[in-house]
Subunit: 441 residues, 2 copies
């Protein structure tokens, strides 16, 4: 029987397994997962830490048993793949005390990403990574009062929100001039920075030197901070150690894939946070380690393994996060990204409201649009708002994915009703500002 | 000096005036408006009736004085155009007791729409139409206890919400089998119907015969209802009496226009609820009397009058309304519409949640997508949900406007963060169901 092995039972792995199963009822599918969880979502860890829910099993969309019984997928939890030989097509897997060999016809690499580490180690240095560790992490964190977070990216600010909600004092050390500086341009990032700084002791433009005493002393190029514990959230990297010398690694450091999620080795696929893709705007390699991309890559890999020709269109870099009442989203390129790629841009930013002037509880929303200077094609968008950010962000992702110009976007026939927006929607106004050069309502 | 006259100072008229002014600083622009309000939004009347705000001036985005002083637009309120002669290019206008003649080089017709009337008249029969009448209307309505609403369309249900919030008893008489039957297909309309029926005494599939005793007795083909007053909300029609024998009227009954908002008479433009346009999907004439369309038509007319070549891309029929916690949107064609136009369709409906499983206060949301059977091009969408409906609706309007297939829509790189959606967004799932035939998460 034809054998598919999948390393990693996260979003990408389980989606691929499910689609391969649907299309090839006879395929022998084994998923090897080092933890006790599959089809999990680490995205919930900050909210679990905040105490918004207590049932760890909610991290999983489906349980291992569900996959085994309902989908006839041989899910092996607590099974760590220790060695991979892509030539002889053999894996060595640690299951309990045993080391077991597996053979495969097709292999899917979906080991995800892992946190970038600092040099020091210690009992009070924490990384936020896998839901299987969430209960342990939260028990520990709840016992501290003053906590340092190294890194002011998405994970950093989500953990800061969670810890503030638990009444902790948070000091955040960030190398950039403003928070979320890989996601937002400075003008938008400053809005977030100001908000976060009202809750958190912020140290910007400060470089970490060392963490000492097992996590209790943080030393930077500008100061020394005594805390109870340190969370390191300085970014992630693809989890490729198992295979990195056996296949092509892309420019971004993740596994190179084609638009079918095939790697450079025949019969070996990669999907999710381990995999690189092509940016739809720049046509250059890009790495977008977020859950919707992982799921869709898994869908593409599973379909192709299942014999159906499905093409992954590439990535935009859509991301969204939340800090207290601010929901913050970005899709496509920032102005900083665009400059790096030698693209000339124009941008328009509109501060607006989410409801009619007279309708109660109207909230603030800011939309920044970035267009390529000559074609006026929309290539990036950033939003900060208190409601209705998600749909607008997804709208702009669609707009960028299909190459709308500012004029096209202005003319999209948006809906209007006073309780949920303004008659000139903030997105329409931003598009109009780009298209005509004129602001205002 | 070149003279532009605009009849009607609503959304379309004032937008056109502003853009013509920007582009032609020397143009002599006069707006003739029969009421005391300009750049107003009748859309707020239900919320004013509900008592959510009391300041009538909030109906206006800008005041007449603002336009006169800041934009050098000669706004004449309380000026009713009584006669129009498109051949001799002369208008007769009633201003106070006087009848004044105006000449023009260019004319914009933007008289909006008016409520369809029933045969009976009376002190206790009300139409909901112009914000200039909102204070009077609300004073009256607040004095009644049991009120009949004839018509279960958007305006009917918005008024029902307002009156229920004021503690009134509402009986709604609707000719259709379900509410919003011009906006939604039966499956979606029934969801709204059930909701409304928990607040309102609903009489469906009932035909109005007469309203007697000045509004106090409603007689239908199935019954007779005693009430304190009757609101008639059976639809609107374009306000074209002034000119209907002097230019081409389109198939829909509104003024025919080309894609520059020019009518069949040279130098005469039409925009907003008086004007017909071309449906982007069917390429047939269509009439979409909603504010965002009126504004954009006004933009196009104003730019073209101002000498800038701007093309109106046509209409989709996007609409959105609210009943209590339900926000209800539609864009493109319903299945019923599609059938009328001889299009074969497939559809997919997904019931989902607006937040992660474990995140508090997750709400229900239902998305129905309609695609053309062979091309799998998305041609319609209907949404009912308790939050984040607007952005998704606008996303789908963009998607339909540019001819995305179900596959294209599935692959849009949506964002995900647990407090605002699911990792497989409801729109992505609905697209996937169309594209693959497979439901579930
Ligand atoms: C704290 C946190 C919050 C996040 N929040 C968001 C968010 O809000 N929105 C969003 O879009 N994305 C978010 N992400 C990113 C998102 O979780 C990832 O993009 C997504 O999980 C990637 O899916 P994947 O299947 O590629 O990898 P993963 O979900 O990481 O799954 C990989 C699996 O492989 C297993 N594995 C690794 N090596 C081996 C081995 N040798 N043997 C066996 N098994 C192995 C791991 O145990 C793991 O279960 C967040 C990530 C983290 C860590
Ligand atoms: C109660 C109500 C609620 C609504 N809610 C919504 C909603 O939530 N969302 C939405 O998108 N749309 C809504 N609409 C529709 C929306 O208001 C219209 O599409 C929009 O106002 C059309 O703009 P317009 O400029 O074409 O016409 P109007 O705004 O109607 O303006 C036309 C103007 O012309 C003037 N006029 C007419 N005849 C003459 C004359 N002979 N001489 C001088 N002046 C004249 C009128 O007094 C009026 O001020 C609603 C409409 C109503 C009535």
């Amino acid at each position: 029987m034809e054998k598919l092995i999948i390393i990693g039972g996260g979003a990408a792995g389980m989606t691929a397994a499910s689609w391969a199963r649907r299309l090839k009822p006879d395929l022998d599918i084994t998923v090897l997962e080092s933890t006790k969880m599959v089809s999990h979502a680490p995205c919930g860890i900050p909210y679990f830490t905040e105490g918004l829910f207590d049932d760890e099993s909610l991290f999983m969309t489906y349980t291992p048993d569900y996959f085994i019984e309902k989908r006839k997928i041989n899910v092996k939890i607590n099974s760590i793949v220790e060695e991979v030989d892509l030539k002889s097509r053999i894996l060595v897997v640690k299951e309990n005390q045993d080391r077991i060999k597996y053979e495969f016809d097709n292999l899917l690499l979906s080991m995800g990403a892992k946190p970038k580490k600092i040099n020091s180690d210690g009992e009070k240095i924490f990384y936020v990574h896998h839901p299987a560790e969430a209960t342990h992490l939260r028990q520990k964190l709840w016992g501290f009062n003053r906590i340092a977070i190294i890194g002011g990216g998405i994970l950093g600010i989500e953990m800061a929100e969670a810890l503030r909600a638990r009444g902790k004092r948070v000091i955040m050390i960030h190398r950039g001039k403003y928070l979320l500086n890989k996601m937002l341009d400075e003008d938008m990032g400053k809005v977030v920075t100001e908000k976060v700084s009202s809750e958190v002791e912020l140290r910007l433009s400060e470089e970490l030197v060392n963490v000492e005493e097992g996590g209790r002393i943080v030393i930077t190029d500008k100061g020394k901070y005594e805390v109870d514990a340190t969370i390191v959230a300085i970014g992630v990297e693809p989890n490729i150690d198992l295979v990195k010398n056996q296949l092509r690694i892309g420019e971004t450091g993740a596994i190179w894939t084609d638009d079918h999620m095939r790697t450079s080795v025949k019969g070996v696929y990669a999907a999710g946070d381990v995999a690189e893709a092509t940016n739809i705007i720049t046509k250059k390699p890009d790495w977008v380690p977020f859950a919707p991309v992982a799921n869709k890559m898994g869908f593409v890999a599973g379909n192709n393994i299942g014999g159906k020709n499905v093409i992954f269109p590439g990535v935009l870099g859509t991301m969204i996060t939340k800090f207290e009442e601010y929901i913050i989203g970005k899709t496509g390129l920032t102005e900083v990204d665009a400059k790096k790629h030698g693209l000339k841009t124009v941008s328009a930013t509109v501060h607006h409201k989410t409801r009619a002037r007279y309708y109660p509880d109207s909230k603030d929303i800011i939309v920044k649009l970035i267009a390529e200077a000559n074609s006026m094609r929309i290539i990036g968008a950033q939003i900060i708002g208190e409601e209705e950010v998600l749909g607008r962000l997804n709208m702009l992702a669609a707009v960028i994915q299909k190459g709308f110009t500012a004029e096209d976007l202005f003319f999209v026939e948006t809906g209007y009703v006073p309780p949920v927006n303004r008659v000139w929607d903030v997105v329409t106004l931003a598009a109009r500002k780009l298209y005509t050069g004129v602001g205002g309502e």
